[in-house]
Amino acid sequence: MKLAFSIAWRFLMSAKKQTIVIVLGIAVGVSVQVFIGSLISGLQVDLIDTAVGSTTQITVSSDVDRTIDLNPGEISLPVITDQNVASDINQISNDLVYVTETLDVIGFIEKDGIEKQVVFRGFDLEQAEGIYKLESDEKLVYGRMPEAADELILGIDFYNEYEENNINLFDENNPITVDVRRQGSNDLVSFKVVGFFDLGVKALNNAWGIGSIEAARSIYGIDAYYISSIEMQVSDPFLAQELAAQIKNELGDSYEITNWMDEQASLLSGLQGQSISSLMIQVFVIVAVVLGISSTLAITVLQKSKQIGILKAMGLTDKDASFVFLSEGAILGVFGAIVGIILGVGLSVMFVTFAIDQTTGEPVVPLNIDPGFIVLSAFIALFASILSALLPARRSSKMTVIEVIRNA
């Protein structure tokens, strides 16, 4: 092995230009692979983040209607009444990073005689921040998050619509008070508007009001434990389907569990299509690299047939003769991979540095440079190089001294 390796090394070094060309050939393949891989995976991460990064990824709600005692009166809604459900879910997996109970009220908001429909969402605000990222992602455009049970924040469209009617809903120092009532009820509850958010989705900006669960209860006029749903986010969005199934298992049939992967199947299939096309590009790049190395090494075997013949005459075994070319493949693969990774990462860094969106200063396409993927690419290149040396190695192994001497 060692001898074969040192002969291989010497063969490569004695034809430096040819060696450099092959190494560059492999390197270009590896760099394209690293770049395309990082680009596609960056695009996907970005797309997933945009699509489901700031919303619930798994939602647990009740599959059966339960009666809420309103005192006076009652309504029937699919609510969860078991207080242990949220903590049970929390214990299922550490991958469930944020879990919030929610209590939703469909109702109206009224100020100075002008009414507008609102979907009031009562959250465990601390956990909900993890999901909706109102503060951390600067979605809260005015004011602050609600802190007390009589405070709420509204979608930015509320502000704009009331503004058109010359009604101001926001005063930072002295919050404006609005009345909220549940649909089907005339009981008004007063809230202070402490802020406005922009979730980037018109339908939500136009409908949502957010406050604490206590606030939602006060609109219903109840004290007992009722929640509409439990929303959660997963550390890796692609675990959603699997975790949803686990939760379903745990909670049983009286609960309805939805996850983004089922709800947004078309997005998911789009992402998969992208992954497959990226994989296809990478496979073809590898095939091109393999063919390139293989044909070059095949020529090298012919070039070196005299040397192989002499070595065999001196007692080199067929196995060692084939190791010479396998070693050449491995050496070329290692150097090709190293140079390729430097090129690929360099290209990626340049892309992220220079191709930036003028308005935001962010890269046009965010790349996801994953060390694991780079190491994998390097090993694939190495493997491909050795693979492409197989045929030349076999040829070298089969070569007999006598045919070399006769052809001299």
Binding site: L3, M13, S14, A313, M314, G315, L316, T400, I402, I405
Partner: protein
């Protein structure tokens, strides 16, 4: 003296499975004694190179047996033959066949490296000594391609000796050298034969050179035509 190489009833047919097979060697039997210096002569096409290749286990006889050190090589596996060649036989070819990518010293060491034994100071000393014998001490670190034809042939001789083989097979070792160099090379081979008691079997077309050997064998049309031992003449 014991025989180091023995050929028994060797036939060699090329293109056996073609409509026009060519028989090159006909039922040829021959043996060589240890430590002798033998020459084989014959016209081109007489089969002398084929004979040498079969002797050196580089080629296989169609029928017949080749004994080296008393072992029948026809029945050995490929790797065993490789090992035997590496340890017992040194080759010197007409076109010297050095590895151009390696220096003179590295070329000399190659057969030893192929044996996969660790390189010791002893073997380095031996390589240097051999290069000294062939007169190339000052060129030992030159790449083989940067040496003249005669120098390369001398490196090839040193290389054939590194593993201390019992037999050296040489096919027209001076075929492409001028007459002065030819004489130098033969004197060198003779000197090695006397110093190390190595058996030499040398193919040559030069009768003047052949006559310096202990024994001259002439091959004609695949058969032994003449077998002349020094002082005694025997005609087949």
């Amino acid at each position: 003296m014991p025989n180091i190489v023995e050929l028994k009833n060797i036939n060699k047919i090329y293109g056996e499975n073609t409509p026009n097979p060519t028989q090159v060697l006909f039922d040829l039997s021959l043996s060589f004694e240890t430590s002798t210096f033998n020459s084989i002569i014959g016209q081109s096409g007489s089969g002398k190179s084929t004979l040498l290749n079969i002797l050196g286990t580089l080629d296989k006889a169609t029928s017949g047996d080749v004994y080296i050190n008393g072992i029948n090589t026809q029945k050995m596996k490929k790797d065993e033959i490789s090992k035997l060649r590496n340890e017992s036989i040194g080759f010197i070819f007409q076109f010297h066949y050095l590895l151009p990518e390696f220096t003179a010293l590295e070329n000399v060491l190659l057969p030893f490296k192929i044996s996969k034994k660790p390189i010791t100071q002893e073997i380095m000393d031996r390589a240097n000594e051999l290069l000294d014998i062939v007169g190339l001490t000052d060129r030992k670190n030159n790449l083989a391609i940067n040496l003249s034809g005669g120098q390369q042939q001398r490196v090839a001789i040193a290389r054939s000796l590194i593993n201390n083989p019992k037999i050296i097979l040489a096919d027209e070792p001076t075929g492409n050298l001028d007459s002065d160099t030819t004489d130098q090379v033969y004197d060198l081979l003779r000197k090695i034969n006397q110093t190390y008691q190595t058996t030499f079997i040398v193919i040559t077309h030069d009768r003047h050179i052949a006559e310096k050997a202990d024994r001259i064998i002439e091959i004609k049309d695949g058969r032994i035509h003449l077998d002349i031992h020094k002082n005694t003449t025997k005609k087949d």
